[in-house]
């Protein structure tokens, strides 16, 4: 028995417990039944294969056939993409195969919305769950505002006052330009290949 058997077993259990907290997510998983989705975090020498089915997701790191889609990227970028409300910066993630399936899988993970208050109410009753939910929501909102303000102030200082970092708009325009240049180069390379050999 290998360490990866333990790792995938633990991950599978945790993932399915998490998914079962959102009934809509389980319904979405059924629509992906019969597909094999491979995720390769770069640099970890590991490919995780997700096999969605009617009762959740089966996870393995050993699969001998070709997957329907392979999603490859830096571990942090993959994590960012998979978390609720996740987005990714252009060029962070590569998708090979059925891109629509890859997108549906990403949307499934990012779209998980757990009604914690509902689950809590089964343990402590409606009134207490509502009160706890309100308190936690208030704290979370205060925390988010404080972090946003801190990040905004730090960003403005670094971008506009000491000018160590470029503004977001300039960076996105630069990344778009790099993407365009890469696509142009690929097209040019394809055209050159079509020339008959001398």
């Amino acid at each position: 028995m290998t360490l990866s058997t333990l790792l995938t077993a633990g991950l599978e259990t945790a993932l399915n417990r998490y998914l079962r907290l959102d009934p809509d997510a389980l319904t979405c998983i059924k629509t992906l039944s019969g597909k094999v989705i491979a995720v390769e975090p770069r640099g970890l020498r590991l490919i995780l294969y997700f096999l969605p089915g009617p009762d959740g997701i089966q996870l393995t790191d050993v699969y001998t056939g070709p997957p329907d889609v392979l999603i490859r990227g830096a571990p942090l970028a993959l994590f960012r993409q998979a978390r609720p409300g996740g987005r990714t910066v252009s060029g962070d993630i590569e998708i090979e195969g059925d891109a629509q399936l890859g997108k549906a899988f990403q949307e499934l993970l990012a779209g998980i919305d757990i009604d914690w208050e509902e689950h809590l109410s089964r343990l402590v009753g409606d009134a207490a769950a509502h009160q706890i939910g309100k308190t936690v929501g208030g704290l979370r909102s205060w925390g988010r505002t404080a972090i946003d303000t801190l990040l905004q102030n730090a960003g403005e200082y670094l971008q506009h006052e000491v000018r160590d970092l470029p503004p977001r708009g300039a960076m996105e325009a630069f990344l778009d330009a790099v993407d365009t240049l890469r696509a142009d180069t690929d097209r040019l390379e394809a055209r050159i290949r079509r020339f008959p050999p001398p």
């Binding site: 028995m1 077993a9 019969g34 009617p54 393995t60 001998t64």
Partner: protein, 248 residues
């Protein structure tokens, strides 16, 4: 002519009697089988089974046979791996166990790529070269003529296919044997008595494990049946081993 005898745990019985006695054991424990497996192995049996499935190399579109599949632990995972174009066939000689397996898989929503056949592992009712993979988990120990069963598996497997046998074996870590013996002959029958209301069946389990061939002997039996590139992987100090062989 003298009647052919074999072992049933530590007892010597006639070959025909063994079939009935094994059937009686599984009829008795079928409805508590999964619970007992979790209790006896502290849930580790799920990891042993995952590892065995990894060894099969099964993929979408494959046809795979799960022999002595009981309550369908392996079949449920194999069905997902073979996908809607493939087939995972759950078989067991015991109708009560097969019914438990069918009930469980249907409850889990696993339908379509799964089939059920009540079959004897020694006389498989399938054409030659039918399956891409064959698994038998904790079942070979109860088969009367293991060599016949292995030859039947070899016949039903396609060239290039793999057989994976997951079975209790013999501890290889020094110092583990006395602890394991104590656990097997005192705790297991007690658990059987308390949970499945059947101590004798779990005493048979402990005895049949001791009578089962060790890792190297079983590997030799696989080779004799015609399998090639045979190897085994010890798990939990050799308490369980997964054997794999190929048909070329």
């Amino acid at each position: 002519m003298a009647k052919e005898t074999t072992h049933f745990g530590y007892q010597q019985v006639s070959a025909a009697d063994k079939v009935h006695k094994v059937a009686a054991v599984f009829d008795s424990v079928a409805n508590r089988y999964d619970l007992m497996n979790d209790l006896m192995s502290f849930g580790v049996h799920r990891l042993w089974k995952r590892f065995a499935i990894d060894l099969t190399g099964v993929k979408q579109g494959d046809r795979v046979l799960d022999l002595a599949g009981g309550t369908g632990d392996l079949t449920s995972r194999l069905a997902r791996l073979v996908g809607p174009q493939g087939l995972a066939l759950l078989t067991d000689i015991n109708a009560a166990m097969l019914n438990e397996g069918r009930k469980r898989l249907v409850d889990e929503g696993i339908v379509g790529s799964v089939g059920y056949v009540q079959a004897d592992a020694e006389q498989l009712p399938f054409a030659d070269n039918t399956f891409d993979g064959i698994t038998i988990a904790f079942g070979l120990r109860n088969v009367t003529y293991k060599d016949r069963a292995l030859r039947a598996m070899h016949r039903a497997l396609k060239p290039g296919g793999r057989v994976v046998i997951l079975e209790f074996s013999h501890p290889v870590v020094s110092g583990l044997q006395p602890v394991y013996d104590l656990y097997s002959f005192t705790v297991l029958p007690l658990l059987g008595k308390l949970v499945a209301r059947d101590a004798a069946s779990y005493r048979y389990l402990a005895e049949s494990i001791r009578m089962h061939p060790d890792q190297d002997t079983l590997k030799g039996m696989l080779e004799q049946a015609g399998f090639e590139r045979c190897e085994y992987f010890n798990m939990t100090g050799g308490i369980v081993a997964a054997h794999r062989g190929y048909k070329f």
